[in-house]
Symmetry: C2
Amino acid sequence: MTYLPPDEATRARMLDTVRFDAAGLIAAVAQQHDTGEILMLAWMNRAALDETLRTGRVCYFSRSRDALWRKGETSGQVQSLVDARLDCDRDAVVLLVDQQGVACHTGRRSCFFNAMRPEGLVETSAPLVSPDSLYGQG
Amino acid sequence: MTYLPPDEATRARMLDTVRFDAAGLIAAVAQQHDTGEILMLAWMNRAALDETLRTGRVCYFSRSRDALWRKGETSGQVQSLVDARLDCDRDAVVLLVDQQGVACHTGRRSCFFNAMRPEGLVETSAPLVSPDSLYGQG
């Protein structure tokens, strides 16, 4: 599956329709394109979404670091874009991606592993890799 | 599939671990439990998430109306909860649901239908029902 990037003018025209919030952000949900698994939820500003569409490599905006966050730059766990889909009111985006390795900093495929059950929080998956191995401390 | 609600003490204990933002909200992503389709992204405050866990009927918080939003109360398009899963840093939740009818106010199953393509925005699905029929004007 080859991702085809829109040209600059087309990107600008589409980005003009996005309703970024007061902080200039929209919520972005990454979903593995072929299995439907939801991997993570993060944030994008206009520059992050533009870079993602231009390069086909997912780039978020880190609110804690106040900077662009090129997913996998440190860990190697990159997300290749397959399709980006804005919602009906243009203030959220689903990214259909091909996730290399694991999406979660805990070493799990998905960040959404804390199920809210009658017995309390239950982890629905175990880490596939050590977090240390993701960030060069292993 | 019968949803089993946690009791009040267990709900309170789990809700105490959720990291609501400065406005008291977390992002909530609804996913059809058996197909994996992402239906919508909305917001929940503590009361909305507690009611959802208690009743097994999804209740959001409407930022525009500043009030609880019992999904389907007007349209009949209710979401029955199957499982709620917090992410690794507890500031987002995926709701595995069984969606009755359509999730989107435009009459589509999913709100995420505006694909960002080389030729510009492309609608990936057409309405299944008339929006008027959802809100009693049909």
